[in-house]
Symmetry: C2
Subunit: 357 residues, 2 copies
Amino acid sequence: MTNKPWQDKLIDIEPYVAGEQPQSADIIKLNANENPYPPSPSAAAAIREFDGNTLKKYPPIKPTELRNAVAEHYALDSSCVFSGNGSDDVLAAAFRAFFNSDMPILFPDITYSFYPVWCSLMKIPYKVLPVDENFEINIEDYAQPNGGVVIPNPNAPTAIGFGEEKIRRLLDLNRDCIVIIDEAYADFSGYSCVGLIKEYDNLVVTQTFSKSRSLAGMRVAAAMADPYLISYLDAVKDSYNSYPLDSIAVKAGTAAVRDEEYFRIVTDKIIATRQRVSEEMKELGFILTDSRTNFIFARHVSLSAKEIFEYLKSKGVYVRHFDLPRIDNYLRITIGTDEDMDTMLALLRSMPGILQG
Amino acid sequence: MTNKPWQDKLIDIEPYVAGEQPQSADIIKLNANENPYPPSPSAAAAIREFDGNTLKKYPPIKPTELRNAVAEHYALDSSCVFSGNGSDDVLAAAFRAFFNSDMPILFPDITYSFYPVWCSLMKIPYKVLPVDENFEINIEDYAQPNGGVVIPNPNAPTAIGFGEEKIRRLLDLNRDCIVIIDEAYADFSGYSCVGLIKEYDNLVVTQTFSKSRSLAGMRVAAAMADPYLISYLDAVKDSYNSYPLDSIAVKAGTAAVRDEEYFRIVTDKIIATRQRVSEEMKELGFILTDSRTNFIFARHVSLSAKEIFEYLKSKGVYVRHFDLPRIDNYLRITIGTDEDMDTMLALLRSMPGILQG
């Protein structure tokens, strides 16, 4: 196709190859960090009761009810909350709003794969800082001139998180740039740094409803920051796509965030399953990072990640294997229901070469 | 706030001022080109019957059922269809995918206000070509070196459209760039150039479900082009926000596009109302462009647009007035129900200084 007269005007981009998303009901899908439990019954009810006739109107340009609900959850003013169409939409808006410098932004080498993609899409210079041999982020590495910082806490796919002391140190080292903490998995860690936005006016915290709120299919996410930074996120949104959240997503998201009890039960259940399965996997010869997320990041003492991945897949259990430097011998396994995890554990036990716990 | 140490890293952007979106039920809202009729009953049913529990899973990365339905509507292969979160999302992806040149892209001076906004956001050079004194686009103006062309047909807010002969001329003049025809209002014009994508591999046609499909609140839109160009749109989408359409939007959009009969009835009704109201407005001293859309673009022989706008607003009828060069004495009035339009006409007749038809 390179002989087309308009070929030179197309974007220079690698076609994206999507991960496997098997749709069969027989399959146990532990490869997308989805929540195994359904969303809050009140979210489902909000959808059922939604008056489809009202869809003829545009949604509000600011989904106030959703932002109010998030603000209440974190005891913030609503002006500290931004919302968008999933974490990717919110993070991309933040990259555009806050990473406008000739100096590189900083992020870890092993982290969310979209950061470098957005940088190349938006022509943002960046520098990756290697995590250590235990996949730990060394905060002192971030004490260098930069155009911004983005770090997931907990990080993915390593599953490792850190607490307030390190976040404060990171922020103190970076008072002259915007620091984005991507808290996609924070609800499974017991720690969120959202409270620090009152102290650090350069801190932006993003969260998604796709994991702990079981709303991956509804595309809802939020960012929390000083109202001045939120006004920039809104200006970017309003200049790009003013209504990224449809009217039903606003209702379902609001209902989900207001159901604190259900959220607590589901999150605790996943954490308990994670702890139990982690112990059982250790007995089978797996070496795990200390997960603060809804997934496990693990390698096996003798079997390769690739062969375990293929074996589980052949038996209908999909986990995630990244064919990437440093982590190609690791598996990322989403925490499913206890029943699903038991199926996976039984399959692992049946694998030739596994240790017998 | 300019003394912040991180201020220089923020995007240089004008805060967007949203148009008035009064929420009161007493108000007649003719200012956002929304459809006055609800979406297809089958779209409402698809929402009602949606199993909220499935939202724990991500939507498919390609919403095949929606794209198939659009493809069938236009007798195309599904590989010729892209989909996104409203026209703005689809158009922004197209700007990014196809407008990568040092030469300016071309569009009319009076047109959709987001084109220059996206250009400045994405650093795309552009040149606006004035429409003539009757707001007509002169296709021959587009016979100049450029980095791409984007034209709405029909245009907004002028409401004027043109037929296949001019589109072909435009395409023949521009074989070495991508030409985007933004058909947000085409369903009210009786003409779409979608069929030409088989002949012109550089043509991209965008459409929205917000107008003729009454789904403004659901955020669904599509683009049609040669599969090679669609692969670029998907690559941009997959690199920016892979799942812009939530699972319910996919179902509702699919149901809406499959209900050809309802679509035809609603569209015909709006066109009939437009014709009737246009005639009545002429009798009251209005001068109208030849609308091919779901709105009227008009000025009055003696009263100023601003005073008519204020008068109607004071009576609870919101129309649109643009305080912009060349069009500041015009009103853009969305076609509502016959009843709503009769209320507006009665108000106009009651206005001091109006001609009595």
